[in-house]
Structures are given as structure tokens and as C-alpha cells.
Amino acid sequence: MIEQAQVGLPTPMASTLRIVDLSLGQMLWSRRSVFLGLLVGGPVVLALAIRVLTTPELTSGIRVTGVQVDGASLFGVMIWLLYIRFVVPVLGIFYGTALIADEVDDKTITYLFTRPIPRDAVLMGKYLAYLICTTLLVLPSVVLVYFFVIPVNGGHIGEAFPSLVVDLGVIAVGLAAYGSVFALIGARLRRPLVVGLVFAFGWEPAVLLFPGYLKRLTVGYYLQGLVPHTMPQDSTLSAWMQMFTDTPTLAASLGSLVLLTLGSLWLAGRVVDRREYVLEQ
């Protein structure tokens, strides 16, 4: 028999960090990460293709409506369209909705919920593990895209470096915001993946197209206020859209995203704390 040991209750912070420790490896080496790793590899392949096809021997560069686009602009477009509007929400959906759902499906939630740690610390720990895991997935991809795309049309890697840092920051904020919203959806709803996909690729793009207040109920609207790049006006539709675009200020965007993230996490924690998880035998 193991002798009795006096040990104090772990603090909420210590509990959270221990859940991070337990969950990170599981998350990183999951089939989901392999699949999403391939997804974040897509922009890298595209960037490589652009780099190869824009070598002076093959072409005189990339032009949009007759205007030559430099590497930094191209990188900005890729960050906005590929990462912030696509990769970040997809990562948020697939990891965020599964933070607790995976443990319930695998029936391992019992081991976490019968330990002397608050349930919201379990959620918080899994959320932090998600942030680390997705950052580790996205960071190399963005950096590689940067190195491939910036030199297009004679851009200098060193000059555009501050923009890379800002873009990485925006992506991190996006991952945090989308992750928290989808964590709430995952904690509250029965089919969180479907709801998450509808939110990110149905509701958000649809609402962002039109003027009015509804767009304030999206994450994308606030992320738009953080993006440092000027979007190219390459079509009538985008020019028309630009007329109705009211981009919030940087401070308003950041403040709203922080509030959205903290609010969603608090609500998700409340749901997890009060919910009964009936595991099917």
C-alpha cells in the first residue's frame, strides 16, 4: 500500500498548466494535427509556386489589373485571404470545438473531472494547449511563405520584417479569438463542428458583405481592423464592397477581440462547470 501523503490542492493556475502539459502532446500528435498540418502546408506550396513562376527568367512579375504587385502586397493578400479568412478559422473550428468533446468522445473526461481541479481549469488548460499547438503549426508556414513571397519583384526580406511580426501577432489574436468562440460552441452545442463551419464560412462572409451592424457579430470584422496591409481593388465587386467597408480602429478591434475572447472563455468555463457529461457505455 502507498503511504499517505499530505499534499495541498493545486492552485487554478497550476491546474491549468498541468492540463496544458497533459494535453499538448495528445493534441500535437493527433490525426487532426496531421490533417491540419497538410492544410497549413497549402499556402507554402502556393508561395513556392509563385516564387518559381515569377523568376525573371520565366516572367516579368505578377500584375493585378495591369499594375505590378510587389512581394509585400502579395504577402499581405495571402495573410488575409489564406490565413486569417481560412486557415485560422479552420484551426479554431477543428481544435476549439473539440477541446472537451474529444475527451467526452474518448471517454477520458472522467479522469480529468474526478481530480481536485476546477472544471474550468481543464477547459482553460486545453485552450492554452490549443494556442500553443496551432501556433506551432502556423508559425513555420507563415515564415516560409514570407521568405518565398517577399523577394518577388525585388522585395527585401529585412525591410518587410516588421510587417511579418505584426501579421504573426494578428494571426495569434485570430487563433485566440476564434478558438475561444469555438470552445464555447463546443461546450454548449451538440453538433459543434457543423455549427462552427456554418459560423465561419456561412455567417461571417455573408454578413461582412453587407453594410450594417450585423458584421459586429463576427470575429472577422475586428480582425480586419488589425490587418496592416491595404487590400488590392482588383474587381468591381471588391471596389463596391470597399464602399461599405467600415473598418474599426486598431484600439476598438483589439479591445473587442480581447473582450470577445475573455467573454467566450468565461461562458465556456461556466457551461463546462455546470454540465453533466453522460458517457455512453
Binding site: 499534499v7 498541468r18 502532446g25 474518448d106 472522467t110 474526478t114 481530480r115 481536485p116
Partner: protein
């Protein structure tokens, strides 16, 4: 004696389905068996006692405190759930020590305790193997290790012997009995009367969500002798085993299934004793799994609830 678990008019509904119906009981210190056929409400009761579910009506207290939304109480509880669920890619040692860290142990102490817990359930040799590569019996034992590793005052075990081979089963029964001796308490559920009987004379009988009897097992035991006990044995050589079983008169009937033999016995005590010695000798090949369907137990319950 102080009750370690107390339920007062405890009920649990799953929508329109009732899982537990107005149960009032007190579980004394020591080892207590919770007995009932599958679907009787045992698991619902276990989930209420471990704070995984909230009561629909009534109250449940564990070690004198309400358990629902009271995480601090888990410092004093160890729970071995029924489900065969793990972080398959982790080793047994990593898993048990990671769970111990959630109890507040630092890394070094968690590792030390995890090693000793695995030793206690005879898994030291496999402690660095991935859980995904464990046999069913080993998985049961590693589950038990995580439950005892932090030395809880109350150990709650949901069907802990399911799927174990006879030798591991004997060891586990010994461990449970010893745990109850050292001033700690154990609540163990099973649908097999014989298993519970080997651990404790103190039982709670649940059927169809209701508590139908509590107290001394021997009174119940007399009833079960009127009903044959069914044992399903998965082994390398079921036919050779069957031949050995037929040598004694405690076997009523035999049936073969794929890599298994199903035995009906009128005297489970002597049959299980014989089975354990056959398994220990290894002469008739390996015995991988011993399970008992609960049809015969259901018959006893029907008898008990007969008006």
C-alpha cells in the same frame, strides 16, 4: 460508524428515463459492494457519488460533503471507472504520474508514487509500455493504479474485475480487501455476486433504479444457490479446459463459443477456486479472460422483487 456515502431520497432522470429512483442509503466505512445486473442503476449511482452527475432530486454526500461541483473533495477520492478509455499513446507510468500531478504532486513525487502504484497492481514491468499495447487485464490494472496512487480515503471502483484473468482477479481482490483494512473505505460495484462476496460481506443490491436490499451478503448468497452461475472463459484451449471442468461434479453444463467455453456451475466457489489453480499451473494453456453474464443474477433479483 460514520457513513462515507450518504444518499437521501436520491433520484436521477435522463429525460423521460429514470436511472435511479428515490434511493436512501448509508455506506459505512470499510468495503461495501454495490451489486446489480447491467442497467440496474449501479453506474448512475456511481456517477452521482463521484460527482459526474447532479442529482435530479434528493442529495448525496461523500465523506460528509456534497460532491457535485466540489472538486476539492476529489483529493480524498480515488475512482476507477468502468469504461475502457485511456490516452493510448502514453505509457502507463506517464499516464499515472500525469494524473497524480493533477492532484497537486510535484513531478518527482508524482513519478515515485506512480511507480509504486504500478508495482502494487503488478505492472512494473510494463510501466514504460504504451497503454495502447496493454491487454484488457493490464488496462484494468493501470486504471486501478491511477485510482489508488494518491492514497485516497475512499476508493470507488466500477466493475474493476471485468475482463481480468483469474490470477490478476485474485490479486485485485486481495488489494481491495487490504485497502479496506487500513482505515480506508472502498465502494465496489459488480454484477457478479461471487466477486463481491470474495471482497466483503456488506452489500447494497440495486435493481431497476431502486435499492432492494442492503446488509449481509450471506442471506442473498443462499438464494443464488438455487440458480446456476454462468462463467464465460476465453482461453487458448477451451476444449482441454472443458475436459478438466467435467472431472468434477460442480459443472452443470458446457457450451463452446469461438476460442471460449461457457460453463454453468451450481457451486461458483469451488469452480472459481479450481479455475484459478488451472490458470496458475498453466498446464492447459493461457486463460485470457473470465467474465460472467448476469442472467443468473437477474433471476435472483426477480426472486427478490417478487411480490
Amino acid at each position: 460508524m460514520t457513513a462515507v456515502v450518504h444518499a437521501d431520497h436520491l433520484s436521477k432522470w435522463y429525460g423521460q428515463v429514470i436511472g435511479l429512483n428515490d434511493v436512501t442509503l448509508s455506506v459505512p466505512a470499510g468495503v461495501t459492494g454495490l451489486l446489480g445486473p447491467n442497467g440496474s442503476g449501479k453506474s448512475t449511482f456511481m456517477k452521482l457519488v463521484t460527482g459526474q452527475l447532479a442529482p435530479s432530486t434528493g442529495t448525496v454526500t461523500v465523506l460528509g460533503e456534497p460532491i457535485w461541483r466540489n472538486p476539492a473533495l476529489y483529493q480524498r477520492l480515488g475512482f476507477c471507472p468502468e469504461q475502457d478509455a485511456f490516452y493510448e499513446r502514453m505509457t502507463g507510468l506517464d499516464w499515472v504520474s500525469a494524473l497524480l500531478r493533477l492532484n497537486g504532486f510535484d513531478e518527482a513525487r508524482a513519478l515515485d508514487r506512480a511507480r509504486r502504484a504500478l508495482e502494487l497492481v503488478d505492472l512494473s514491468d510494463a510501466s514504460n509500455k504504451k497503454i495502447g499495447a496493454y491487454s484488457k487485464g493490464m488496462r484494468q490494472r493501470v486504471k486501478m493504479a491511477q485510482a489508488v496512487a494518491h492514497d485516497p480515503e475512499l476508493l470507488i471502483l466500477d466493475e474493476p474485475l471485468a475482463g481480468m484473468d483469474p490470477i490478476a482477479r485474485r490479486r485485485m481482490i486481495k488489494l481491495i480487501k487490504e485497502w479496506g483494512i487500513g482505515g480506508r473505505s472502498v465502494m465496489v460495484s459488480s454484477h457478479i455476486l461471487h466477486e463481491i462476496e470474495s471482497m466483503t460481506p456488506n452489500i447494497l443490491l440495486i435493481n431497476q433504479g431502486r435499492l432492494i436490499a442492503e446488509g449481509d451478503i450471506h442471506q442473498i448468497r443462499d438464494l443464488i444457490d438455487e440458480h446456476p452461475h454462468t462463467v464465460h472463459i476465453r482461453a487458448d484451449h477451451p476444449r482441454q479446459l472443458a475436459r478438466a471442468f467435467l472431472a468434477e461434479d460442480d459443472v452443470l453444463s458446457l457450451k463452446f463459443e469461438e476460442q471460449a467455453v461457457v460453463v454453468q456451475t451450481a457451486r461458483p466457489d469451488s469452480f472459481y477456486a479450481r479455475l484459478t489453480s488451472i490458470a496458475a499451473s498453466g498446464e492447459l494453456g493461457a486463460i485470457h479472460e473470465v467474465t460472467s453474464p448476469d442472467d443468473n443474477l437477474q433471476a435472483v433479483f426477480q426472486y427478490l422483487v417478487k411480490p
